[in-house]
């Protein structure tokens, strides 16, 4: 029975290999399940967007007057719809996270480097617009000592006005390659053994780098 299952378990290992669409799906799942914004998948997005454009051209240039062409065109259209759905879901998930953590992202060059140029522009615009809105709605009505967002943020304890992702949040994670013992806290009192196909619910922070280097994926 395990044979049948291994065929179905992971599309990556099926006869059609690991296409960019499958990679995109995994990138989307990782992005959705991770508490912080992950690195923008520049190459993958560029490749997939290219393939979508090419496929759209092919569809437009295929004769659909006979049954064969009409069937294949319908299939292509269906797959295109799936691909676009996935691209939109990925980009939209990133925008939601970006809006939620916009101040923390703009405050940190390493975080900014994870954005696409369009996302960075979006973040800046969003920050300016929400800032103006807060000013109109609240700050303009405050005494002078309290009417600056930046000043308030700087004096607030723990910088809690910069809404940062919670890296201590727990995530569901699947191990892709045998990794062996991994420390979960700096003192090394809490060690967990990560073997291929293990599924854990675990704090995000200790597996952050493993996710980046593809030792694990989120579920």
């Amino acid at each position: 029975m395990d044979d049948f299952i291994s065929q179905l378990q992971s599309p990556a290992e099926n006869v059609y290999g690991e296409s960019d669409l499958i990679l995109m799906k995994k990138a989307y799942i990782n992005e959705k399940a991770a508490p912080e914004l992950l690195e923008y998948q520049t190459d993958l997005l560029a490749r997939l967007q290219d393939q979508v454009h090419n496929q759209e051209d092919t569809v437009a240039n295929t004769d659909s007057t006979h049954a064969e062409g009409s069937l294949v065109r319908a299939i292509w259209r269906l797959e295109l719809a799936r691909a676009k759905h996935l691209l939109r879901a990925y980009l939209r998930t990133r925008l939601i996270k970006l809006e939620r953590h916009v101040t923390a992202v703009l405050d940190n060059p390493a975080m900014q480097a994870r954005l696409s140029p369009l996302e960075l522009q979006y973040a800046k615009d969003y920050f300016v617009k929400t800032g103006l809105h807060l000013k109109d709605a609240v700050l303009a009505h405050m005494p002078e000592e309290f009417n600056s967002l930046v000043r308030q943020s700087n004096v607030s304890e723990g910088h809690d006005m910069l809404s940062a992702p919670n890296l201590e949040a727990h995530v569901f994670v699947r191990v892709l390659e045998d990794r062996g013992a991994v420390n979960l806290d700096p003192e090394g009192d809490d060690v967990v053994e990560l073997n291929k196909d293990d599924l854990y619910i675990i704090r995000y922070e200790p597996i952050r780098d493993l996710l980046k280097d593809n030792w694990v994926e989120l579920v």
Binding site: S10, G17, A34, E68, L71, E79, R100, Y200, V219
Partner: protein, 189 residues
């Protein structure tokens, strides 16, 4: 508020549609190379009448809807294998039987679009999948109940839908345990 990391059951169904199933086509594509459809996700086929071929579930369902193929019953989704899985599931409290990661999604799609594949077994197979799901969910629940503090929990062989259904509660509870414990530790003398 943190960003919601949960998927809807329909998201999971979408993900499951990339898994492959075997079909028997009733058509061929003589004017296309290798009688295949060159898609973004791969060159699916070759499609030749009565020659079984593996394709992603979304494609299988689309072809079946146009009466261009017959979907075959997957080997793991028959009464014998499922009965065996159900028995194993009942006999082990802490271990989960290995099923396809998307077993619930795949079976739901096939029960809807490929009823013929199951012949007279359809009801029995449906019932077995339902029973397996029920036993597993109650095992998961029992496992979650013993949680007493912050910890890393191994969930090997849990399916996509099972992970997703416990995610909001389990993640929230572990986050809360961790937060309480870490504050307590930090402030101890």
């Amino acid at each position: 508020m943190p960003v919601d990391p949960s998927f809807s059951p329909y998201d999971l169904e979408f993900f499951a549609e990339d898994d492959v199933v075997k079909i028997v086509p009733s058509f061929s594509l003589p004017t296309f190379s290798h009688s295949s459809i060159r898609c973004i996700g791969g060159a699916f086929g070759p499609f030749k009448p009565n020659i079984p071929v593996e394709v992603p579930l979304w494609l299988a369902v689309a072809l079946q809807k146009r009466n261009n193929c017959r979907i075959l019953q997957p080997d793991w989704l028959n009464t014998e294998t499922l009965q065996e899985a159900l028995d194993q599931e009942k006999n082990t409290a802490a271990v989960f039987h290995r099923l396809p990661f998307h077993y619930l999604e795949i079976s739901k799609i096939l029960f809807l679009h490929a009823k013929e594949a199951f012949g007279t077994d359809l009801l029995k197979v449906k019932e077995l999948v339902g029973d397996i799901c029920k036993v597993r969910l109650s095992k998961i629940n029992a496992g979650l109940q013993v949680l007493q503090g912050p910890m890393t929990v191994k969930l090997n062989n849990l399916s996509a839908a099972e992970c997703n259904v416990i995610r909001p509660f389990f993640q929230g509870a572990l986050d809360r345990f961790h937060l309480l414990a870490s504050v307590c530790l930090r402030l101890l003398p």
